[in-house]
Amino acid sequence: MKTTGCIILLAVVAMAFAFPAAVLSAEKSTLKAGIPDEWAPWKDPNNPNVIILQDDKDKFFERRERPGIQSERRAS
């Protein structure tokens, strides 16, 4: 048990070095010549570290009100 505990502790310490806590950067990407902003609706020019999501982001996991009704696609 003691050996196992030591191994786990060592692994945790190693992981901490391998994957240090994320540092959020507010800088724009340094890579050149990407897709221009006007053709990239997922980009926010004022917040270069953010990827914008569409308003229907939760639609995929919406529940039916009661079992047995047709899905929206089928009903159309």
């Binding site: 990407g34 053709w39 990239a40 997922w42 990827i51 229907d56």
Partner: protein, 338 residues
């Protein structure tokens, strides 16, 4: 740099590259080598059944020894496409930690590098979302709304819903039209079938004047009639080809993650590419959605994709040689004239 050790040309004797072609890594390489066509591997994955990521590298190592490195005579039109200068441009990176819209940006960058050398980029492997990166790079070079996207697919890919994401495997063409990269009337689709589109999407597609050639039309009118309609719609235009392997019948191309029975035959696919290559200026092409993890031991789907690319190249070379009839056949190969 030529990866082939022997002059005779045997695909299994050199380092594996697309079609056994020499390698190039930069725009300067392409310019120095006066490369006509750069085959670029795409490893981006966006499918419900994973595996398209491995398509590009598998295409360099098919279970295939009946083709010559970067050349050969097309036995429909008697043209040697080895007269084109063809290069393998390596793969576009795929950051599998990242959201795929960021990966599409890298597709854009690498395609733009190839276009900067006035070389035709041909994407090999990956998944259909990459088309958006091709379209943005093409719109940047040629101008938005100046080219046609010929889209071969079982599915319409102008899905109304993004589920949070703007550009994904089923919505990229809708965003491309909304952003003006292509006009709706400049999207020509072939092979649509299955359970989609729904009525709401169909209405939107009609409003955009998208030209969709369903399998229903091919069944009703016959392939030859539909092929002539497609060629008429394409005439005189710059063409970007976006070829989803699930547009083919699963009997010919089983190794896709989204099979739909009753697609294009191998003969119809090969003829369409040859004909468009002869008739039109090809500015880019991509062949995607090949999932080698689902292929058989003889890499049947991979070999078909290889031959589709070779058929397009034969058409491109035929056009260079002055052949103008997209339905041209080599008379020497139509009859056993003694």
């Amino acid at each position: 740099m030529n990866p082939q050790r022997y002059k005779f040309g045997e695909l299994l004797a050199g380092f594996p590259t697309f079609l056994g072609a020499p390698m190039a890594f930069t725009t300067e390489d392409l310019k120095a080598g006066k490369v006509d066509v750069a085959l670029v591997g795409i490893s981006i994955g966006d499918q419900p059944v994973p595996g398209g990521n491995f398509g590009a590298n598998k295409m360099r190592a098919l279970t295939d020894w009946l083709a010559f490195p970067a050349g050969g005579t097309n036995n429909m039109i008697g043209v040697d496409y080895g007269k084109l200068t063809i290069a393998d441009y390596g793969n576009v990176g795929w950051n599998f930690f990242a959201q795929n819209q960021r990966n599409v940006e890298e597709v854009h960058r690498v395609v733009a590098e190839i276009l900067a050398a006035d070389t035709i980029p041909i994407g090999v492997g990956g998944t259909h979302v990459q088309t958006y990166g091709f379209q943005t790079a093409l719109a940047q070079k040629y101008g938005p709304g100046t080219f046609v996207t010929l889209h071969i697919d079982a599915h319409y890919d102008t899905y109304m819903y993004g589920f949070g994401r703007f550009v994904h495997n089923g919505s990229f063409l809708k965003v491309a039209i909304e952003k003006g990269l292509i006009n709706g009337s400049d999207l020509i689709q072939v092979g649509l079938r299955g359970e989609y589109p729904d009525n709401a999407s169909l209405q939107w597609m009609r409003e955009q004047k998208i030209k969709s050639h369903y399998m229903a039309a091919i069944e009703k009118k016959g392939w030859n009639a539909v092929l002539k309609e497609i060629l008429k719609e394409l005439k005189g235009r710059k063409v970007h080809i976006s070829w989803d392997m699930d547009g083919m019948d699963p009997a010919a191309a089983p190794a896709v993650g989204t099979q739909d029975p009753d697609g294009l035959s191998a003969a119809q696919g090969l003829q369409l590419l040859r004909a468009v290559g002869i008739q039109n200026e090809i500015i880019a092409a991509e062949f995607n959605e090949y999932n080698p993890l689902l292929d058989d031991a003889h890499t049947t789907t991979g070999i078909l994709m290889d031959r589709l690319i070779r058929s397009l190249l034969a058409g491109v070379q035929a056009r260079k040689e002055g052949i103008t009839d997209p339905l041209y056949y080599d008379p020497e190969r139509l009859d056993h004239v003694q």
